[in-house]
């Protein structure tokens, strides 16, 4: 059942990283069948026709798997619907006359590039610091050459579901990136292929994370905001692995 609703938008506008921004208000008529991003697209078309600057917003796959489109909608990362990215959010979640406040993800290490677009490259730096894993390249190896227990595969897969959208940092009152980093670490540490560099990777990725982000106080907001529902247990997993890594890396480097 589709209907046409009118929503009042309050959108953060900021011309560049160094500029100061402010909220601007817009009114948009939209069918409830439209996705949230389509609503912004229509708004941008109108703005364009009026000769105004369209709202900058990032999006890529629009099917909830790339992690590009995160914005804060009414103070919630990716909007009110649970386990949903912004692009998968539909206007049927809103009713006629609603005010929708749209803001970029905020953290000191997520500087605004323009309007709703933020620079999430600290995530790339965390990933980069993790380095490589030892897998043989070349011809495809025999299937089942490396046995992986079902439970381990499941856990790795749950962790690998993280799309790196940054909602965890955005939702966290401490701006901590524990959920992201722990998911990436658990993904590798659960599998046999990730074992050789496990301890080195854990240490460097956690320490790189701490150069950019805050400290976790176990609120659990990140899990609620996460469009992929990454579990808080991964954070515990990372905390345990980090302490182990600090001891093991010493032994591995010959200090006892």
């Amino acid at each position: 059942m589709s209907e046409i609703i009118t929503v009042n938008l309050k959108i953060w506008r900021q011309e560049g990283p160094e500029k100061s921004g402010c909220f601007e208000e817009y009114t948009q008529k939209i069918t409830t069948e439209a996705s949230f991003l389509e609503m912004i697209d229509l708004l941008n078309e109108d703005l364009n026709n009026q000769g105004l600057e369209p709202v900058a917003i990032e999006s890529d796959c629009r099917e909830g798997i790339c992690g590009t489109c995160g914005v804060m909608i009414n103070g919630q990362a990716h909007g009110p619907r649970k386990a949903t990215t912004t692009c998968q959010l539909h206007m049927r979640e809103f009713s006629d006359g609603d005010e929708i406040v749209i803001e970029p993800f905020r953290a000191i290490s997520f500087p605004v590039i323009r309007d709703l677009v933020v620079d999430r490259s600290p995530f790339d730096q965390i990933i980069e610091s993790g380095g490589y894993i030892s897998v043989n390249t070349g011809a495809a190896s025999d299937a089942n050459l490396t046995p992986v227990p079902k439970e381990a595969a499941d856990q790795a897969f749950d962790a690998a579901a993280c799309i790196g959208c940054g909602a965890c940092v955005a939702a966290c009152p401490n701006s901590a990136a524990q959920l992201f980093t722990s998911a990436k670490l658990a993904h590798m540490a659960s599998l046999p292929q990730g074992q050789p560099e496990r301890w080195k990777r854990t240490e460097t990725m956690v320490e790189t994370m701490e150069e950019f982000f805050g400290s976790c106080t176990n609120h659990g907001e990140c899990h609620e905001a996460c469009p992929k529902e990454i579990n808080l247990d991964f954070i515990a997993f990372m905390n345990r692995d980090y302490m182990k890594a600090k001891v093991k890396n010493r032994a591995l480097s010959g200090q006892r």
Binding site: K10, W12, P17, K19, G21, C22, F23, M72, N74, G75, Q76, V101, I102, E103, R106, A107, I108, S109, F110, P111, S121, P122, Q125, E128, G131, P173, N174, S175, A176, E203, T204, V206, E207, T208, E210, E211, F212, F213, G214, S215, C216, T217, N218, H219, G220, E221, E224, L232, D233, I235, A236, F237, M238, N239, R240, D241, Y242, M243, K246, R250
Partner: protein, 282 residues
């Protein structure tokens, strides 16, 4: 470990990696390690709070038993070691734990505050303009940095009140905790302060006793559902026990009527001798 922050990235770290301290100390340089320290000291402090509460229940057995309890604390290990040595070691370790707990809390909070600052946003304190409702973060978890200082202030007051006897004046009798407790808690404002502080303590424990499992990485799907219940019941137990003292005093269930040794001001030795005698007669 290698530093991989590349020149290609525009976003620079907000804090530098400092030179590493020698092994066990370097754990304290990182936030994850510091949270670990906070959890371990938290466990120690939880143990203290529990034992302190249980020990104080001796007050319901009367002045003589309370005196005996106080004496036995001082006499811990006194067959072998000098009297009060163990007690002082315990006190010292409590002070260290409390100091570390506080220091890590303050520095980690500062770290999070720096990470949440955003120069481009209008009202500095608030992260988002949109009506933000916390979904998972409990009221307890968000008020840790308020309940914490309340507890710290209360602790100082509590020591000054019951251990050093600053405000009790001549009413304060070293070695007669029953009398000191009665004299202190029979004043209504003090009783109210004790109630408030203990509620803050229980509130703090409600989040802390759950959070420590996460910080230490003690995590097992089999038992995870028990953690919340453990924290809640621990907090409840402490609250129940500790609140009973001011309430029972105000309700006149702890009073000095049955007391044989009436306090004669300034004559501490006599009172203590009397208490010991009562205990022997018992």
């Amino acid at each position: 470990m290698t530093q991989t922050t590349s020149e290609r990235y525009r976003v620079k770290p907000i804090r530098d990696r400092r030179r590493e301290w020698p092994f066990p100390l370097n754990l304290y340089q990182t936030a994850v390690g510091r949270k670990w320290v906070m959890a371990v000291t938290g466990i120690g402090l939880l143990g203290f709070v529990l034992i302190h509460m249980i020990g104080n229940l001796h007050v319901y057995e009367g002045p003589a038993k309370m005196h005996e309890y106080a004496e036995s604390l001082k006499n811990l290990g006194s067959g072998i070691l000098p009297r009060s040595l163990i007690l002082w070691l315990l006190r010292l370790s409590l002070m260290v734990m409390f100091g570390l707990h506080l220091h890590s809390a303050i520095t980690l909070k500062e770290m999070s505050r720096k990470s949440s600052l955003n120069a481009s946003f209008q009202s500095g304190e608030k992260k988002y303009e949109g009506g933000r409702e916390y979904i998972a973060a409990s009221y307890a978890s968000r008020t840790m940095r308020w309940t914490g200082p309340i507890i710290a202030l209360f602790l100082i007051y509590h020591l000054a009140d019951m251990t050093w006897g600053w405000w009790l004046g001549n009413e304060f009798v070293p070695g007669d905790p029953y009398h000191n407790l009665y004299s202190s808690l029979s004043r209504i404002p003090v009783a109210i302060f004790y109630v408030i502080a203990n509620m803050a303590l229980a509130w703090h424990i409600f989040h802390g006793a759950w959070s420590m499992f996460q910080s230490l990485g003690i995590n097992n799907p089999k038992y995870n559902h028990l953690r919340r219940g453990f924290a809640a019941s621990f907090a409840g137990l402490i609250l129940l026990g500790n609140l009973s003292f001011p309430i029972m005093t105000q309700a006149n269930l702890i009073d000095e009527e049955e007391r044989l040794c009436q306090v004669s001001i300034g004559d501490t030795d006599e009172i203590l001798a009397c208490l010991t005698k009562q205990l022997e007669d018992h």
